[in-house]
Amino acid sequence: MPDQDPSKTAPPTGLPAWMGGARPATVMAAVPGRRRKDSAVQKTIEGIAAALKTSVFSEKIASRPGLLQKMDPRAKAVSLLGLLVAAALVRQPLILLGLYAVTTAAAGASRISLKFFLKRVWLFIPVFAGLIVLPSIFNVVKAGDPLLTIWNFGHEVRLGPWSLGTSIAITKQGLTGAAILVLRVAVSVSLAVLLALTTRWSDLLKALRVLFVPRVFILILSMTYRYIFLLLDLAAEMFTARRSRMVGPSSPREDRHFAAASIGTLLGKSHALSEEVYAAMVSRGYDGEPLSLRRFHMRGPDWLLALAAAAAAAAAIGADRLLG
């Protein structure tokens, strides 16, 4: 019975009159210019959800039979640290490029597609570093020997309180410094991504034991990681519930109040949940002293990896000092 006048259909007993019947068609028609745009917060929540899905996806990479996947997580963690320190200490762009090549080769040997790896590494952090460092290659921002003069004013130009100098140029120091920063960031991120992609989170946590991280921190880390997903789901639910209730665009004031209420609700629910989790832990014998089972054995190849990483780190630093 489409398009009936609701007032003419008696609603079933017990329901108020306005609740019965179908709605007049006009209410459903789109109102031009009133289409609601998703708020930035909504978009971010969706972005996070997507990012987390790729990290779930990454556990798939961790279960592939590749070079790094087969290694003991402790060997990987120690190797990562050694190479990170080397990457932080060297000062020649060429050496950094060499380290970058090593990480990319390791990614290949671990059956990570190059395209995926490059995207995962470069998107956001090194690209962002590049954008940030860009102004510093000009002599206007940071002094240096001009390499390429873009504009010669012939006289000093002032912009209010600022002096722009007599020319705009790209400097040698600026360009080298920018290259070093971006490469260093890229190598560091590649190393971290490589470890995260080829190691299951639960194994990675156990590897932290060798780095003298106390057990209780490891337990907290593992629980945090697990509850991030739950809280995200809760947050996403709140947004969906709100979206489904809203008709027109919301005012910034409403948005603020909603955001605060959701953060408050999230905090309240988190607290209640932590009580439940605590009860569940106590029920299974937890008394504040976390224990863990050792399920790993360092084998020949694991020692080899750690040694190779140490050698690569030492070689990088040595070559750097030799060149510089």
């Binding site: 007993t13 779930v56 556990e59 279960s63 299951r200 989170w201 639960s202 946590l205 593992s222 629980m223 990681y225 697990r226 509850y227 997903f229 739950l230 949940l273 439940e276 989790v277 009860a279 569940a280 832990m281 106590v282 029920s283 299974r284 014998g285 937890y286 008394d287 976390p290 224990l291 863990s292 089972l293």
Partner: protein, 270 residues
């Protein structure tokens, strides 16, 4: 003479703003299978938490295997480890129960923290996964499981402890019929193997399989009835007062006609 698993004497428990239980007494014999029935908020979960020594009653006493559960006894490491080995609790909300980073870790958590040997833990985890048919999930993180899988892992995490008493809070909530059937059969098998099983539920449909005796908590947080499961299920007046069934009104040719209707598919989620 059969020893009693639990003896609860006129127990009351108050939450900050509401009553949880009001003067409830009950006894559960070792090896019994008992259903704890009641509507949302009647105090079923509170009772299970009291039985598991997770909260202590404001008034009254509770004893497990002849020993009183008090602040003092539960803080005694020897007693508390022994008690936790003998009593296992499957929470209603698997999100709260599954806090580890993988299914394997989750199942190993109990045996590990209750002081079992390394090799024994590994055997138990593998065997428990096998019984529940969840071997393929062993490296999965818990957030990546379906509702039924979560429930199975939660049960596995308790079964690996091999407790004498199983406390189950709404085990059938939110399950598909096949998983529900599987779990209910497992529960009665466990009981036949000698385990005491206490199930809190408002799903009357599963009661005949999971319980030989039923205890009903009313909406006034008091005990409103107890007896053999068949008798309790037949006592419509009792069930209606406890808000476990209600009368549906239907109109046929202008004539009103009532019949009782149980909340078979409704479950609380808190």
């Amino acid at each position: 003479m059969t020893a009693n698993a639990f003896e609860v004497k006129s127990v009351s428990y108050h939450y900050e703003d509401a009553a949880g239980l009001d003067g409830v007494s009950l006894t559960v014999a070792a090896g019994e299978k008992v259903a704890l029935l009641g509507a949302n908020g009647s105090g079923k979960s509170t009772m299970l938490k009291i039985l598991d020594g997770l909260i202590l009653p404001n008034e009254g006493t509770v004893a497990a295997f002849g020993e009183k559960l008090t602040e003092e006894t539960l803080n005694d490491e020897g007693f508390s480890k022994a008690f936790r080995r003998r009593v296992g609790f499957v929470f209603q909300n698997p999100e709260a129960q599954l806090f580890s980073s993988s299914v394997w870790e989750e199942i190993a958590f109990g045996p590990l923290h209750l002081g079992l040997e390394h090799d024994e833990i590994i055997t138990r985890v593998e065997d428990t996964m096998h019984i529940l048919g969840i071997n393929h999930l062993k490296d999965r993180p818990p957030y990546h499981l379906s509702g039924g899988e979560k429930k199975k892992v939660a049960l596995a995490s308790v079964l690996a402890i091999n407790p004498e008493v199983l406390l189950l809070d709404e085990p059938s909530a939110g399950l598909d019929p096949k998983t529900e059937d599987f779990l209910i059969h497992l529960i009665s098998d466990l009981n036949r193997a000698g385990k005491t099983v206490i199930t809190a539920t408002q799903d009357l449909g599963i009661v005949p399989q999971i319980a030989s005796r039923a205890i009903v908590l009313g909406e006034d947080h008091r005990l409103s009835g107890a007896g053999p499961a068949g008798e309790v299920l037949g006592d419509e007046e009792l069930l209606r007062l406890a808000n476990l069934v209600h009368y549906h009104a239907h109109e046929h040719d202008g004539l009103r006609h009532y019949h009782p209707h149980s909340h078979v598919e409704e479950h609380d989620h808190h």
